[in-house]
């Protein structure tokens, strides 16, 4: 389900150019064969979650692939960001800066099939992606991806954040 790219292979030049040749098989987006049960405290307070209800007939969908390979599909409303959605459903996505594109804790890896449908990242987002752990060719920030009709069905994976992919300093 998840193959983390070795840090030595992290992309060297800016976004789209070499993607199709080199970096496609970073993560397989096929359905997982094993679903690992996950500990969930029933008493965990919900810290975030300002999700909108989709209007009838205007429901959009998105799928998150969690670190253990589990897939979660949600019905969501137009305008909510992937960060809003992840936090609203208590997924492991931090959003330390409160969704203002000032950290890289909402880093997601977008299914290449959907990546080109997204508007290009701006300078602020790119500056933060520079610092993201386990960066890939289709990495984006969850706070900068707003749900709309064009990307209905988008699939994103949460990156592994471990010391293996940590650069020593920056």
């Amino acid at each position: 389900m998840f193959k983390v790219l070795p840090s030595s292979l992290l992309l060297k030049s800016s976004a789209r150019i070499k993607r199709n040749i080199l970096y496609k098989p970073i993560i397989s987006f096929t359905s997982p064969t094993v679903v690992t049960p996950r500990f969930l405290s029933t008493t965990l307070p919900r810290l975030h979650g300002h999700l909108h209800k989709p209007k009838p007939g205007e429901e959009l969908h998105c799928t998150f692939i969690l670190k253990d390979g589990t897939q979660k599909k949600f019905t969501v409303a137009k305008g909510d960001t992937l960060l809003d959605i992840a936090q609203g459903h208590n997924l492991d996505m931090e959003g330390a800066c409160g969704g203002s594109c000032a950290c890289s804790t909402c880093h997601v890896i977008v299914d290449p099939e959907y990546y080109d449908l997204l508007p290009e990242p701006d300078d602020d987002e790119n500056d933060m992606l520079d610092l993201a752990y386990g960066l890939t060719e289709t990495s984006r920030l969850g706070c900068c991806i707003k749900m709309n009709k064009d990307i209905d069905g988008i699939r994103v994976a949460l990156p592994q954040m471990t010391r293996n992919v940590q650069t020593s300093d920056f």
Binding site: L47, C97, D122, N126, L129
Partner: protein, 488 residues
């Protein structure tokens, strides 16, 4: 139930606590200790005031502290959390804490300076460390800040126009930005910067950022770099001499390096000749009034002063070269140069202090130290100076473990990783019978009446008070005043 104490309530301490409360299957009783009555450490006192979005992590910390703090009583959460402020944990207190807690995590960060070690550094008026300077504009508690007071007065600053900063990490860039924008009212009006400081430094018009190595070894991140260039809209002009860029091997640059080089090349062009629209967002005014410049390949060797008033007059720098070993060393064939300056800020990074060196040291914890941070194993467990083995139940997270590097996301990930290891450790360790209540904890650790510990609710009171004073807040600078407002 297992009991954990975390020392330090900055991002590393709070993120560690947060992760433990979120992830531990074992019920936990967590105590977060802080030397000031106020929490958040470097988020409150380190992050630049014009980066409020970086401080948003405080909101997450506040939400969960509110949810878990005893005695909210009505909560049915499996974990308990308490904040004890205004208590400095030293060697002795740590020793006692370890005897009554299942686990202690050191997250007290780095609060000392790395030094240049050159003549004049410590006894010249107008030479300060970046930590002292940042503390000043961020209203760090006064009586905790042992710095000569002369340079904080407005009289001192009347003739300060040329400033040099040694080191080029993000802290240096923050300071450069603060120095050059201090006279722009609208830039700072909705921040919590110490207004006495911006008022004082408003005459500064030239900043040189000096590095020992070359452009390619720059330590700052692109966000901070871009902010500096974008100041051109206020008539603040940046410069990097093209000779420092000529040797850059573009094929060896990583993603961030490629983007950084493009940024320099574009911003060095006149506005109308830039090729990309994102470098043409704001047209600068026709004349520039303030200037910053990066200066590379120099080693400071001597600080020169005016004998009459002991103030800095210039800095002597040696020219560096790259030797056979690929190291940057002084090139003795070239003469030193002198830069006349009115103020010098050394921004070489922060240095940790061994907690065993704090306090009366009757009982030492035999903590091993590794240069500027604690020695730990891969799991984040602190090593013993006696036998180099992990000390049972003693962990470290954040800068005191890693040294002072990395942005908040790296501190967060480190704290989460250590949190996971602590949970593993607690799952393997024997059942605990140490259910220290707050009273036990305070009686054991705070054995004299000289302490005025503060609670999370005290902080909420102070927080509301500060927010009433200004937008987003005016920080109370004096600890005695903080305690008065809290009512202790």
């Amino acid at each position: 139930m297992k009991s954990i104490s975390i020392i330090g309530s900055g991002p590393s301490g709070f993120y560690t606590a947060y992760h433990l409360l979120k992830k531990s299957p074992i019920p936990l009783n967590i105590t977060l200790w802080e030397k000031f009555p106020v929490p958040f450490g470097l988020s409150r006192y380190g992050v630049a005031p014009d980066h409020p979005e970086v401080k948003n992590c405080e909101e997450t910390f506040t939400q969960f502290a509110n949810a878990y703090t005893i005695p909210s009583g009505s909560n049915n959460l499996m974990h308990k959390f308490q904040f004890i402020g205004n208590v400095q944990i030293d060697s002795e207190k740590l020793f006692k804490l370890r005897s009554i807690q299942d686990c202690v995590i050191l997250s007290y960060g780095c609060n000392n300076d790395k030094k240049l070690g050159i003549p004049g550094e410590n006894d010249t008026l107008g030479v300060v460390s970046s930590r002292q300077f940042v503390n000043w504009y961020n209203s760090y508690p006064e009586n905790a800040c042992a710095t000569p007071e002369q340079w904080k007065g407005s009289d001192f600053w009347k003739n300060v126009k040329n400033v040099a900063i040694i080191g080029n990490g993000n802290v240096a860039l923050d300071i450069c930005r603060v120095l050059l924008t201090s006279n722009i009212k609208q830039y700072w009006q909705n921040t919590d910067i110490n207004q006495a400081s911006t008022e004082a430094i408003k005459h500064v018009s030239n900043v040189k950022i000096i590095g020992r190595r070359g452009y390619e070894q720059s330590k700052f991140t692109n966000k901070e770099f871009r902010e500096l260039w974008e100041l051109e809209k206020y008539g603040i002009k940046g410069n990097i001499d093209s000779k420092y860029l000529s040797n850059v091997d573009e094929s060896k640059l990583d993603r961030a390096g490629t983007r950084r080089l493009e940024m320099v090349k574009e911003y060095m062009k006149p506005f109308d000749q830039r090729t990309k629209k994102n470098y043409k967002k704001f047209k600068p005014p026709s004349t520039f009034t303030k200037f910053w410049e990066f200066d590379y390949m120099k080693t400071p060797v001597k600080i020169n002063k005016d004998a009459r008033n002991n103030r800095i007059s210039s800095i002597t720098l040696a020219i560096n070269k790259v030797n056979e070993m690929n190291k940057f060393v002084i090139d003795n064939s070239k003469p030193c140069i002198d830069y006349p300056i009115d103020f010098l800020i050394t921004s070489l990074g922060y240095k940790g202090v061994n907690i065993d060196e704090l306090g009366c040291q009757k009982h030492l914890n035999n903590i091993k130290f590794a240069g500027d941070h604690l020695a730990t194993n891969r799991e984040g467990q602190v090593l013993s100076s006696m036998d180099n083995k992990p000390i049972p139940g003693l962990f470290a997270s954040g800068w005191i473990k890693t040294g002072s590097k990395g942005v908040i996301v790296s501190t967060m990930i480190d704290s989460f990783t250590v949190g996971d290891e602590v949970i593993k450790y607690l799952q393997c360790s024997a059942t605990s019978n140490q259910q220290a209540s707050i009273i036990d904890l305070q009686n054991t650790v705070l054995d004299s009446t000289n302490y005025k510990p503060t609670t999370w609710f005290d902080w909420l009171k102070l927080d509301a008070y500060e927010k009433k004073l200004g937008n987003p807040r005016r920080k109370i600078i004096n600890i005695a005043d903080m305690l008065k407002i809290i009512g202790k």
